[in-house]
């Protein structure tokens, strides 16, 4: 089985510190086994839609959840979200926005685009770790996803 076929979490994060903190929190919760990291919006889209570097992937091997930052290089998080949610092949993938922004406009827009959850990253690490662990547990263990494969 190809490493990328068993991805459970797609983590889209450009900030290396945030990336390490998120990974640290996931490791502590034993949820880090099947994480794939995309460092910008374009890489995230290529991974999800199996293009470019990820052309060998199968689109039906979708991650169980996508943790998406909003402010990203190249293609920003909202556009990524829009692409995912407007494509019938991917629109059922749960997407959780994990961002620094508390701006109402960001929250409202994200929900308009069909986000499944909007989490503000707290500065306080205990809070941050708790949030990441809880949403990992929720989407990976408690949530019952629809069968995506035909």
């Amino acid at each position: 089985m190809n490493e990328t076929t068993i991805v459970e979490i797609l983590l889209v994060e450009d900030n290396p510190q945030d990336l390490r903190l998120t990974q640290r929190a996931l490791i502590k919760a034993n949820l880090a086994n099947h994480i794939h990291v995309a460092r910008d919006g374009q890489e995230a889209l290529e991974f999800i839609f199996c293009e470019g570097e990820y052309a060998g992937r199968k689109i039906e091997n979708a991650p169980k959840v996508i943790l998406l930052d909003l402010k990203l290089p190249k293609v920003d998080g909202k556009e990524v979200l829009e692409r995912i949610k407007s494509d019938p092949r991917t629109k059922m993938i749960p997407v959780v926005v994990l961002t620094s922004s508390k701006e109402q406009s960001d929250v409202v827009e994200s929900y308009h685009l069909g986000v499944n959850s909007y989490i503000v990253k707290p500065v306080n690490f205990e809070g941050f770790a708790a949030a990441v662990q809880q949403l990992g547990m929720y989407w990976l263990l408690h949530n019952q996803p629809p069968k995506l494969a035909e």
Partner: protein, 624 residues
């Protein structure tokens, strides 16, 4: 023979008498029925009828219709009784002319005393009658003339004095006839009478001599005197006829007219507007100095020119319609472009009208300056509008920048803090036991700093958002809002007693979310700064001042020194140490920003340890 001769001689005598009578008188004889049986030549001559036309007719043929029926009846009654009738009769000749005759009718009776015939002997008195009539007419004219007509002798003694004289001078004829005319002459003019008499004696007539005379009641009046000599039949001057007319009124009217003309002339000459008088074809008859100055023509040059010579070429076509408008008795009011002598043009406002003599009067005002001012105002307005558009655009740009800035702050400023906090914690977790004494506390301080910074960023973003978001006002039930805020604050604490009293709070017009923020900040402050009181008191109320709702929150907390009151509402300004009362110093700045955006005021009163009261004003519900 003797008798014959005697008869002959008698007949001859009668014939002579008759011949003499015919020479002198108009004779007619009628029968008892009034039919003419004889007329003499003089009768025919004066009545202009031939004898044959008269014989057999009665006297109605020459009836003038002048005399009343009673007069004729009286005549017939008299002569019917055989008595002689005498009287003056007006008759009509064949050609329609009238003549007067002094008439004697003698009835001749037959044996039984009945009239046999009537002999009428008449004398022509037409000339006398005409003279009498003329003189009566003259007397009436003199009597009823409004002018004084006075006759006097050469010694200035008044002989006749008419009603006009009575009216003008106030003396009756009884008072004046026989008196000297000099009583009418003012003391300083007594010489005049002698001069007038001198002229009259030389046979001269004095015409329209204007002088002053004194009336009976002492008034001096202006009179115009015409005096002429009265001559007797032989042509000797025997007196003076004098006509005097009171011209006081006409003199006064003349004076008034002269004064009025003079003032109009002055107005015309000195008016700042151009004034022209033109004939009905718009040829100029006169123009004032302003008009000449405006157009650059002399008055002499302008007179005789036509409107078409002084209006701009494109305006010439409008002259005809304007003239018919004025001719149609309506005033003309319009802006025209005029052409000066040097060809340059200018704008003027014209009011033209027809004056009673049929000429046209035009008033022309140069409105170049007004036009320029209008253009300037127009220009300034559009400049101002442009400036407003630019400023608005600048403001919008600034707002956009601020928004982008906030967005960036919101996204990017927290990440480094998270790193500081997160990795401090990572060090504590991973290397805790190896760390030297005190290091754990320092790391904890680093984390505290980062977390406090996050709070500051959040507050700052909230504050900045308040300036950008549009207000959406509606009626707010203030009492309900306050209770819900208090509920959220969940202030009840076990270790101390907190009394909150809420008075009646009137509704207001405000953005509900923002107003909630105001109450939240003020009430949480009140709870915070009473934190060290065993019995905390928070009083919430509203008073009316100048038609505004003044809401207040009063506490018995630590208060502040009024000398720092000016710092109270500044961003990040704090009047207490962080270890005494935590906070970022943004809460009251937010309160002030929200109140100001609603057009209200906010202020506070306090004493150190004496509690504080925060007031703010907000439009009442009835205002909208």
């Amino acid at each position: 023979m003797q008798e014959d001769r005697q008869l002959k001689s008698s007949l001859k005598e009668i014939d002579d008498l008759k011949a003499a009578l015919d020479e002198h008188a108009i004779v007619a004889i009628t029968d008892p029925q009034g039919k003419i049986t004889y007329v003499n030549d003089k009768f025919c001559a004066i009545s202009k009828y031939a004898r044959q036309e008269l014989l057999g007719q009665d006297h109605r043929i020459i009836n003038s219709g002048h005399h009343p029926k009673e007069f004729i009846r009286d005549l017939w009654t008299t002569i019917g009784q055989g008595k002689v009738w005498k009287g003056e009769i007006k008759n009509k000749a064949k050609d329609g002319s009238f003549y007067w005759v002094d008439t004697t009718i003698v009835p001749f009776l037959n044996g039984d005393g009945k009239p046999r015939q009537f002999v009428a002997i008449r004398a022509d008195i037409t000339a006398r009658k005409d003279a009498e009539m003329a003189s009566a007419r003259l007397a009436a004219i003199v009597e009823f003339s409004h002018d004084a007509i006075i006759g006097k002798d050469l010694n200035s003694v008044v002989i006749s004095w008419n009603k006009g004289a009575e009216k003008i001078f106030g003396y009756t004829a009884g008072e004046m006839v026989g008196a000297s005319i000099t009583r009418l002459i003012p003391a300083d003019r007594q010489d005049e009478e002698n001069q007038i008499l001198g002229n009259i004696k030389r046979g001269e007539t004095l015409e329209h001599f204007e002088t002053l005379r004194q009336t009976k009641d002492g008034r001096l009046i202006d009179v115009s005197v015409t005096a002429s000599p009265i001559k007797d039949a032989a042509g000797n001057i025997i007196g003076v006829s004098k006509m005097a007319r009171d011209i006081t009124e006409s003199k006064r009217a003349q004076e008034a007219r002269r004064a009025s003309e003079a003032s109009y002339r002055t107005l015309f000459d000195y008016a700042p507007d151009g004034i022209v008088i033109a004939d009905s074809q718009s040829f100029y008859l006169d123009a004032n100095a302003s008009m000449c100055r405006m157009l650059g023509y002399s008055r002499e040059e302008l007179i005789g020119l036509n409107a078409s010579d002084i209006v701009a070429k494109k305006e010439i076509q409008h002259i005809g319609p304007a003239l018919s408008e004025i001719g149609g008795k309506s005033d003309h009011h319009r802006e025209w472009q005029f052409r000066r002598k040097d060809g340059s043009v200018f704008d003027a406002e014209v009011i033209a009208t027809k004056v009673p003599d049929g000429n046209l009067l035009g008033v022309i005002r140069d409105i170049t300056e007004r036009k320029e001012a209008q253009a300037k105002i127009h220009h300034l307005n559009s400049e101002l509008e442009q400036r407003v558009i630019e400023r608005t655009a600048q403001l919008e740009a600034a707002n956009k920048e601020l928004e982008a800035f906030s967005y960036s702050v919101s996204h990017d400023l927290r990440a480094p803090l998270r790193a500081v906090d997160g990795f401090s914690q990572a060090v504590l977790e991973d290397y805790g036991p190896q760390l030297p004494e005190g290091c754990r506390e320092e790391l904890q301080t680093i984390r505290n700093g980062a977390q406090r910074m996050e709070q500051l960023i959040d507050d700052l973003l909230t504050f900045s958002r308040l300036s950008r978001l549009p207000l959406s006002k509606s009626a707010v039930d203030t009492g309900k809002l306050v209770r819900s805020v208090l509920g959220e604050l969940n202030y009840i604490q076990k270790n101390r007693q907190i009394d909150v009293s809420i008075a009646d709070l009137p509704p207001c017009q405000a953005d509900p979310a923002l107003l909630k923020q105001v109450w939240l900040n003020l009430l949480s402050n009140a709870l915070k700064y009473t934190g060290k009181r065993k019995e905390a008191l928070v009083e919430i109320g509203c008073v009316q001042a100048k038609g505004q709702n003044v809401y207040f929150v009063r506490d018995n907390g630590t208060g502040f020194d009024m000398k720092y009151a000016h710092k109270l509402f500044g961003v990040f300004q704090r009047l207490h140490r962080a270890e005494d009362y935590e906070g970022t110093g943004v809460g009251l700045a937010i309160v002030q920003r929200i109140i100001h955006r609603h057009g209200g005021r906010v202020w506070a009163e306090s004493t150190v340890n004496g509690g504080a009261t925060f007031y703010f004003t907000m439009e009442g519900e009835n205002k909208l």
